[in-house]
């Protein structure tokens, strides 16, 4: 792959993206338009995150890529391979060891540090999009801080269902100003959005970058009498017994047998390595290497 620049993008493009990132960090939660490039993977498959990671990567970085919390899902494997080939950077599956983590749909369970960057892949950056399809209108609403429509939507949920019926991509208000889509993470992850690491959000097809700087106030929208609640399956992980992690439900057999396992594969692995054993777990540590599907 020597015919391509380090991390695929040319330096001018990276510079343009870095400018957008810096602007995003300066105005937390504001969606910065940027001239997104066609990438060698399809729009909607993480091109925004890939461009942000490419602009943020240095040769000394260690990259981790997760999809649905797991390092071994096909698209995570594909993106990790892309950077191994085009940037030659070290990669890891351990959250602890990564300096840049690109993610789709999850925030790792382990608390991130100040020297880490979390890059989100974002499909639809506009939190108001499904209430108002026009970009011209939603930009106006953001600039006027006119978020009544969103509160009406949440209120209608409560009047119809008795609770707010949004379970992922749950809208947040950043530093008391912009309403932001945290990307389609489960609302279980929302409280983690206040963290020590830099959070960068890239939406390639929609040509937007936004950011949450470290220790920025991020509030999930709610009402005093209907406070926000982070929810997960009411189980412990069947492999590592963690009661505090987000769980995937796995169908075991055609008789409706189910088990629950950590969605964050590295978290689960490290707990099992530390000797935690769940309902269906085994004492022996499991291999972390890739296996055939």
């Amino acid at each position: 792959m020597s015919e391509y620049n380090f991390a695929y993008l040319d330096e001018q493009t990276k510079r343009m993206i870095r400018r957008a990132i810096l602007k995003g960090l300066a105005i937390p939660g504001y969606q910065v338009p940027f001239a997104s490039r066609e990438m060698p993977m399809p729009y909607g498959w993480g091109t925004g995150g890939v461009q942000v990671s490419a602009a943020a990567l240095t040769p000394d970085d260690t990259l981790k890529v997760i999809d649905q919390g797991a390092d071994d899902t096909t698209n995570a494997v594909s993106i990790r391979k892309f950077f191994e080939r085009t940037a030659g950077v070290a990669t890891t599956e351990e959250t602890e060891r990564a300096s840049i983590i690109q993610t789709r749909h999850r925030i790792p369970e382990a608390a991130l540090r100040e020297d880490q960057i979390l890059v989100y892949q974002v499909p639809i950056p506009e939190p108001l999009r499904f209430l108002e399809p026009r970009e011209t209108e939603t930009r106006k609403m953001h600039s006027l801080e006119e978020y009544g429509l969103m509160h009406v939507k949440l209120y209608e949920d409560i009047s119809q269902h008795g609770q707010i019926a949004t379970s992922y991509a749950y809208p947040v208000k950043v530093e008391g100003r912009y309403v932001m889509d945290p990307s389609p993470i489960p609302k279980f992850d929302n409280p983690k959005l206040e963290m020590a690491a830099i959070q960068l959000f890239g939406a390639g097809r929609e040509q937007r970058i936004y950011a949450v700087p470290p220790y920025t106030k991020v509030v999930s929208l709610d009402f005093e009498d209907y406070p926000f609640e982070a929810t997960k399956a009411d189980h412990a992980c069947d492999l590592c017994a963690a009661a505090d992690s987000y769980l995937d439900e796995v169908i075991m057999d055609d008789a409706g047998g189910r088990m629950f396992v950590c969605s964050d594969t590295d978290y689960c692995r490290s707990r099992r390595a530390a000797g935690h054993v769940g309902r269906l777990g085994s004492e022996a540590p499991l291999s972390t290497g890739p296996e055939a599907a």
Partner: protein, 360 residues
């Protein structure tokens, strides 16, 4: 003991190896050469160049071969390659009046200076399968004539002399480049035209067709459709003058549209414009119709709420690379989000059932 299924690099590698085998097909059948695709599937090559925004028939042929004839996939390959190319500068505007036309027809005048030239067209062929093509054979030679050397004036220029068609404002401003700046709304006409010319042929065709059927109807005459090659010139700063760096094939369509006048404009004909790489006339005509429909604001017309008048709707959804990527991404795992929905729906059902039981 349960072990979670690992997506695995091996599964991906195996899938791609199988894909390569499928692409080749039966090895007892001769392999397609790029030259064969370039010469014999030229209209496919043209579409890939137009929507891939890169004029290179050989690369387009390669992309078609690699994509097994899936043209949107081929366009994607070209776009992803194009974006890595360095930019040396901009050409001068091409002069389509100087086009060496292979085809040039006007639907508004029986005859025009420069003549009506049908060229290599499917028009008036009877769409009967030609079984002779199933057997390889020599082709009878087509009659030839000396080509026209002088410039071919645009049909709309005759209407302009009479001041009966709207004049387009002259501008030397450098247009925005949609591949270097994100499109913002409202978009200027250059931005709209750039977006339309690389937009999906099917989408643009559907939008254009909707205007013909009455959704923002604006009856269009094909004032002129011309297909041919034009010289591409570039100013070389070291030389201080422009030199020809090559030639490209283009299809240009100018429509003449009825217009009864508005609050701001007197009754006169108005125009729509289409310009597309290669012989791609369906796309060029469709583009001209959509361009005209999008000009309602500038011409002081009413927005009747038709899809083809809505620039944000048209421009945001006409790119097939964006559309196909987002559409197909729903194949990717979504089980984290699905899990959260599952729990929500279970909870809502539990509460609904409890409420029902309490009522009984």
């Amino acid at each position: 003991m349960y072990v979670a299924v690992k997506g695995g690099e091996r599964a991906i590698d195996n899938a791609h190896a199988w894909l390569a085998e499928e692409r080749r097909g039966d090895t007892s059948v001769a392999e397609l050469s790029l030259a064969q695709i370039r010469e014999q599937l030229k209209l496919a090559v043209n579409r890939v160049m137009a929507e891939g925004s890169l004029f290179d028939p050989d690369l387009a042929a390669l992309a078609i071969k690699q994509s097994r004839g899936d043209l949107i996939e081929a366009i994607f390959l070209i776009r992803a390659y194009r974006t890595t190319l360095p930019r040396f500068g901009n050409s001068r505007p091409v002069e389509t009046a100087d086009m060496a036309c292979d085809r040039r027809v006007s639907a508004t005048f029986k005859d025009v200076p420069g003549g009506q030239v049908l060229g290599p067209t499917f028009d008036y062929t009877h769409r009967l399968l030609d079984f002779k093509l199933a057997a390889e054979g020599e082709l009878p030679e087509a009659p030839t004539a000396p080509p026209r050397r002088e410039p071919t004036p645009h049909v709309t220029s005759f209407l302009r002399d009479e001041d009966i068609i709207q004049t387009e404002p002259d501008s030397d401003a450098t247009p925005r480049d949609i591949t270097r700046e994100p499109v913002a709304f409202p978009a200027d006409r250059a931005t709209r035209l750039q977006t339309l010319t690389r937009g999906d042929e099917g989408f643009i065709l559907g939008m254009a067709y909707s205007t013909q059927r009455g959704y923002a109807r604006n009856h269009a005459f094909v004032g002129e459709l011309r297909i041919g090659t034009v010289a591409v010139e570039m100013e070389i700063p070291e030389l201080g003058f422009a030199i020809e760096i090559g030639e490209i094939e283009l299809t240009e369509c100018e429509t003449v549209n009825q217009f009864t006048g508005s609050k701001t404009e007197p009754p006169q004909f108005t125009r729509g414009y289409g310009l597309v790489f290669g012989q791609t006339e369906r796309k060029a005509i469709a583009m001209a119709l959509v361009d005209r429909a999008l000009r309602w604001r500038e011409l002081g017309e009413d927005n009747v709420g038709a899809a083809a008048q809505d620039e944000e709707f048209v421009l945001s959804h006409c790119d097939n690379i964006q559309a196909t990527g987002f559409l197909e991404h729903i194949k990717l795992p979504h089980y984290v989000d699905f899990q959260s929905e599952l729990e929500l729906v279970r909870k809502l059902r539990r509460e609904a059932t409890a409420a029902q039981e309490a009522a009984e």
